[in-house]
């Protein structure tokens, strides 16, 4: 008993002293880095974060520990990340909600409070219907919606749903938006024939598309997806709607540039790792590797386009 006590006190003192280790850019990273993930364990953001952390660790030279900080559709975690110490030991997985929540007044921090490190993932959205649905093209849905505003039922994976809002505002139509708790419930409702169509990430409907239970109508991307070359883009069909979700790494805005560079270097290398690339391919996540600079610009543009949608809401 006494030995254990001594050992415990010894270890307690040891861990306290190591916590005092001075943080500077030269010896960064001197201890493990924590990565705040603003969504819960088990979701897409969590999966990408855990895989990314695993492949970035060797390049950073220190372990990266995942810390799930959920709440407020990602707002809680990202605000906590923005307000953490700018020493590079707390980094944040930022998602598209960073561009939408602040404008809606649902998040205190915004993209100005972050320095972007690297964008790693961009998933364009895809429109799907049940295999035996009465709708066989996107045009049929839009035309029907123009005839009967607010009648066609849309399974929304989140509220507000910026995919459908973009289509509604672009084409000046309305749908009966029925909110579901995430993509799996929305796709089940479409498969069960309870709701006409849904818009999700391609990975979230891959299995159902392969098995033929769901039918893709269009992708909301600039170009056709390499994995689904037969599915037209909305642009090709004459609807100028491009939308999708993205995920990247960011640090508080006052973080020294030297530390940001070290982090960016590690994550840029991780994104190119063979294991990470195959993880993303298999999980139907799409790699979009953007440097700190172009990531910052990308967010500014996306925020702009989302703000326009929010103002019209």
């Amino acid at each position: 008993m006494k030995m254990k006590f001594k050992a415990a006190v010894g270890i307690a003192l040891l861990s306290l002293s190591s916590a005092f280790a001075f943080a500077s850019a030269d010896n960064y990273p001197a201890r493990n880095v924590r990565l705040i993930v603003p969504f819960g364990a088990g979701g897409g953001t969590d999966a990408v974060a855990r895989a990314l952390a695993k492949y970035a660790e060797p390049h950073l030279g220190q372990p990266i520990a995942i810390m799930n900080r959920t709440g407020g559709a990602g707002g809680v975690g990202m605000t906590a990340g923005a307000n953490s110490r700018p020493d590079g030991y707390t980094i944040t997985m930022v998602t598209r909600e960073l561009a939408s929540l602040p404008k809606m007044g649902l998040m205190q921090a915004d993209s100005e409070d972050f320095k972007m490190v690297r964008l790693v993932n961009l998933d364009p959205a895809i429109v799907t219907v049940r295999a035996d649905s009465q709708y066989t093209t996107m045009a049929e849905i839009i035309d029907e919606a123009k005839k009967n505003p607010g009648r066609i039922q849309f399974a929304s994976t989140a509220k507000p749903n910026f995919y459908i809002l973009a289509i509604e505002q672009n084409q000046n139509v309305t749908f009966n938006q029925i909110p579901f708790n995430g993509a799996s419930e929305a796709t089940t409702a479409v498969m069960g024939g309870h709701v006409a169509f849904t818009i999700t990430g391609p990975g979230e409907v891959k299995a159902q598309l392969d098995s033929g239970q769901l039918k893709p109508l269009a992708v909301l991307a600039e170009n056709r997806l390499s994995s689904m070359p037969d599915v037209p883009t909305m642009k090709e069909l004459g609807y100028d709607v491009v939308s999708g979700t993205w995920r990247g790494i960011a640090v508080p805005s006052r973080t020294p540039d030297a530390i940001v560079d070290k982090l960016e270097d590690a994550f840029a290398k991780a994104v190119k790792e063979e294991g990470f690339v195959s993880f993303m391919e298999k999980g139907n996540f799409f790699i979009e590797d953007k440097s700190s600079e172009s990531f910052t610009q990308f967010i500014a543009e996306d925020t702009q386009s989302l703000n326009t949608i929010i103002e019209k809401m």
Partner: protein
């Protein structure tokens, strides 16, 4: 099919995979038994470790954690009145009562045997009836979810309460609390006062920890007698007997089947299944008034129900490619990382994986039974620790558990607030479990009622033109009737003064 299963079992029983499975089950039981660490979290944490393994080994490990964790949550629920995971909230009702009557080992043995039954039956149903169950799951839409929640809610007012009104007060407090957060349909903030942590509503785990564990510590610290507190307590080490087994077997069987069906429906997990099965067992019981006072069938129903979900949750994953609950979502991730697309093609493309998964589930449940039974003696030691030592342990563990769920001091504050609330409500004899039940089922009821109205464009006809909805309407009516019957019985058995 049988041959494939045999092959699957052969590969599962290879020493390397078997050891992983054993480690997974044991680790899962520990994860589940710690408040704040849930089955979902346990499986998510283990996922990156499986990146380098083969598909069978990877799934075996994750399945082991899943099965173990759903069971593990019941150990502290029974012994310490602290459910380790929300799935075990219904187990507290009768489990802890039995412990207070001195039957710790009996309660634990029923819990592990019924968990095993639930897991085993749901696995068998998963292997044999998957396509049928998937068809059932697809029939579920907003109206069905709404009535399922209503059926679960009809238990309010009758569980662990002498007074119907007090039970209802408790239930409605829970329903009110569940309104906090962004409105699920319109995203209007409700009762959030601009606090971002409240936008998603209160997390169920800190509420649970506060109401059950922290309030219990406050009560115990008041009732504790100095000298007695430092003595070791003793409990009967007797397991359940054969006549007792015959008594709870039917409700365990029924709950296993029900748990599997509820698990097969995406969006309803082990916590909901446990309460719905508990309610059904009470409704159909000959002695419903014993529920909440240490009824063996009560533990049996809750435990078979929540472990029954484990097999059911895999049904939509394997047949539709949609996860049935959060854990199945991570398994889906594990499958895709291995380059395997779940869905109906899986049975044709990689039957070895499917049957490897099935046999892992079978073996995981057997291992859970063995580890659980072997552990009873050790677990019982926990309640035999003198009160003065166990109180600080539970109290501090509760705070750490509330924190670790989401690394959030806000959750700690929530747990403490609900601890105080639970203590005060107990003082005026308002039961606490209806609050928990309402917090779990309330949002499901509200969201799906409003969704149904949207889908039916404002018409209420969904209440009678859908067959599954009608069944639940009938069951809810029967459940209310049985509550009334219990009240009548208590009234005629006791003096009128107590029969409020």
């Amino acid at each position: 099919m049988f041959e494939l299963l045999l092959q699957g079992l052969q590969s599962t029983l290879q020493p390397s995979i078997f050891l992983l499975l054993l480690a997974g089950v044991t680790g899962g039981i520990i994860i589940g038994s710690l408040p704040g660490l849930t089955a979902t979290m346990g499986v998510a944490i283990m996922l990156p470790f499986t990146f380098g393994m083969g598909p069978n080994a990877s799934l075996a490990m994750l399945i082991g954690v899943y099965v173990g964790a759903i069971y593990g949550g019941s150990i502290p629920a029974i012994l310490l009145r602290t459910p380790g995971t929300p799935a075990s909230a219904a187990t507290v009702l009768d489990g802890h009562q039995l412990v207070q009557q001195g039957h710790a080992a009996k309660a634990l043995s029923i819990s592990v045997v019924c968990s095993f039954m639930g897991g085993l039956i749901s696995t068998i149903m998963l292997i044999t009836l998957s396509p049928m169950l998937a068809g059932f799951a697809l029939k579920f839409s907003a109206p069905e979810y709404f009535m399922l929640a209503v059926f679960g809610l009809t238990i309010i007012g009758s569980i662990s309460s002498k007074s119907l009104v007090k039970g209802l007060i408790s239930g409605f407090i829970g329903l009110a609390i569940a309104c906090i957060g962004l409105d699920p349909i319109t995203s209007t903030p409700r009762y959030t006062f601009g606090i971002m942590e409240l936008y998603n509503g209160l997390s169920i785990i800190p509420v649970l920890i506060g109401l059950f564990a922290i309030s219990e510590c406050l009560l115990q610290s008041e009732q504790i007698v100095k000298e007695a507190s430092q003595k070791a307590l003793t409990f009967s080490h007797k397991l359940f007997s054969y006549p007792e087994f015959r008594k709870f077997f039917p409700s365990a069987l029924k709950s296993s089947l029900m748990g599997t069906c509820i698990g097969a429906v995406p969006g309803a997990g082990a916590d909901i299944a446990a309460f719905v099965c508990y309610n059904e067992a009470r409704r159909s019981s000959k002695n419903p008034e014993n529920f909440g006072k240490g009824a063996l069938e009560g533990i049996a129903a809750a435990e078979s129900g929540n472990n029954g979900v484990t097999g059911g949750a895999l049904v939509p994953l394997l047949t539709l490619g949609v996860p049935g609950d959060a854990v199945a979502a991570i398994l889906l991730g594990a499958l895709t990382i291995q380059g395997i697309a779940p869905g109906p093609m899986l049975f044709q493309n990689s039957p070895d994986i499917v049957y490897g998964l099935f046999s892992s589930m079978l073996v995981a449940n057997i291992l859970m039974l063995i580890v659980g039974l072997a552990g009873i003696k050790i677990f019982c030691r926990i309640v035999e620790i003198p009160k003065a030592l166990i109180i600080p342990m539970i109290a501090l563990l509760s705070v750490v558990g509330a924190y670790s769920m989401n690394n959030s001091m806000f959750d700690v504050a929530v747990a403490l607030t609900f601890g105080l609330l639970g203590y005060l409500l107990t003082k005026i004899e308002i039961p606490l479990s209806p609050i928990v039940l309402a917090v779990i089922l309330g949002p499901m009821a509200e969201t799906n009622l409003r969704k149904s109205l949207m889908m039916y464009e404002g018409s209420w006809s969904f209440l009678y033109d859908r067959p599954i909805v009608l069944i639940f309407v009938l069951l809810s009516a029967l459940s209310l009737y049985s509550t009334w019957r219990i009240k009548r019985r208590i009234q005629s058995n006791t003096s009128p003064q107590l029969a409020v």
